[in-house]
Symmetry: C2
Subunit: 213 residues, 2 copies
DNA sequence: AAGCGTTTCAAACTTACGTTTTAATTTGAT
DNA sequence: ATCAAATTAAAACGTAAGTTTGAAACGCTT
């Protein structure tokens, strides 16, 4: 009763997702990918066209559903409540990330790491393909946060959103700045529920901090 | 009265720092470096031994002084005050980063971006060479934050420090998660003073957020 | 069973990489 | 001025990268 072996293209996507996270795009060769996926070297170019196109495919397979989930949560929240709470708003982003992190069938926490890496590495993909397609995501959150924090002017709000999403992305991505130096101070660092338990209060407090004169 | 041209090794370091930030370690070739630095291809291996050693040299040239500055500020603060304020503590880290960001002669904001990239890319260098040498940095800040926030248990404190340094690193590195989607919402995003003005309240509020039951 | 589009495969191609080698050149102390 | 050491230079080495090719194998309809 073993799970049927996924087809070639899916096996390539799964292996690529993991290797791109582990070693980065440039340092991951098609020979590493095809070897671990147990497919022929030429299969990548046959199914995806090029290494760049493969990266885009790996990326979009996860990003589109994730953004879709966030927007659905946002729809629900905005329909339900007149006054949006900051914590409720933060959770519309956290919950889909959390669900993704806990679902091995969808790559688990791997994709969020990939997303984080891709942001930092400033890939062409993000500047070109994605930016136009998903500006709606940022627009929706910007207006929602504006409703939740009406006393903040636009620029101050943009800064706080920048900081908030920055720390959330890095938390889910497991980019532990301090872990590198101290020896596993936090044993539960990779438990997604633990992340949320500590992350949400921190982010909410930052977003709600009193306005500087 | 033009500035005297730096020597070969320095020119290589300067160019490498910029290219490693722009394209990453793997995607930056020695031929790109030596061409832009106007030195012979073999100069890198002559002066530094290998590409890996070059990266370490680029990295250590900035990191050692930066960490030194932070620890000096920490010394001053701890000597001066009995009770450490969270904001004062945060500023011992912010001020050296800010000074570095504003000093083109020391690479400006480039190095903080490189540091951020290197953290995310999880380089060997960080796991091996740096981790032992600079664990004192984390130790010092951990005990200092413990003094400033004595009511937090060790694990909660570790989480908050993780989040705080994460957002600070990304702010200075200019890793604007949302900038990619929205068209230059924040015009002053690259002004280091503006970063601090908005960053410090956010981080301090997160660190000081009430303890969850 | 035959035919046909799709997929897989082994192999080769071109290019670029990091590194090494060897000779030429510059530098600095005697 | 001389000589030894340090540095620069040009060229080549071996390897590995992404991609392409053309034939073989497969799956499906007729």
């Amino acid at each position: 009763m073993e799970a049927s072996r996924p087809d070639t293209a899916t096996r390539i996507l799964d292996v690529s997702e993991r290797l791109f996270v582990e070693h980065g795009f440039e340092a991951t060769s098609l020979r590493m990918i095809t070897q671990q996926a147990e497919v022929n070297l030429a299969a990548v170019n046959y199914h995806f066209g090029s290494k760049d196109a493969l990266f885009e495919a790996v990326f979009m397979r996860r990003l589109a559903p994730l953004i879709g989930s966030c927007l659905s949560e946002l729809d629900e929240l905005e329909a339900k409540e007149e006054k949006l709470s900051v914590e409720g708003l933060v959770m519309t982003f956290i919950r889909p990330c959390l669900a993704l992190s806990k679902d091995p069938a969808r790559g688990g926490a791997l994709f969020v790491r990939l997303l984080s890496r891709t942001l930092v590495e400033n890939h062409r993909l993000l500047r070109e393909t994605i930016s136009q397609q998903y500006s709606v995501f940022v627009q929706r959150y910007t207006t929602a946060f504006h409703r939740a924090l009406p006393e903040l002017e636009a620029e101050e709000l943009a800064w706080r959103m920048h900081f908030a999403f920055s720390v959330m992305f890095n938390a889910f991505a497991g980019n532990d700045v301090l872990k590198i130096f101290m020896r596993s101070q936090i044993v539960s660092a990779r438990d997604p529920d633990m992340i949320v338990k500590h992350l949400v209060p921190f982010v909410v407090a930052g977003l709600l901090s009193p306005i500087e004169s």
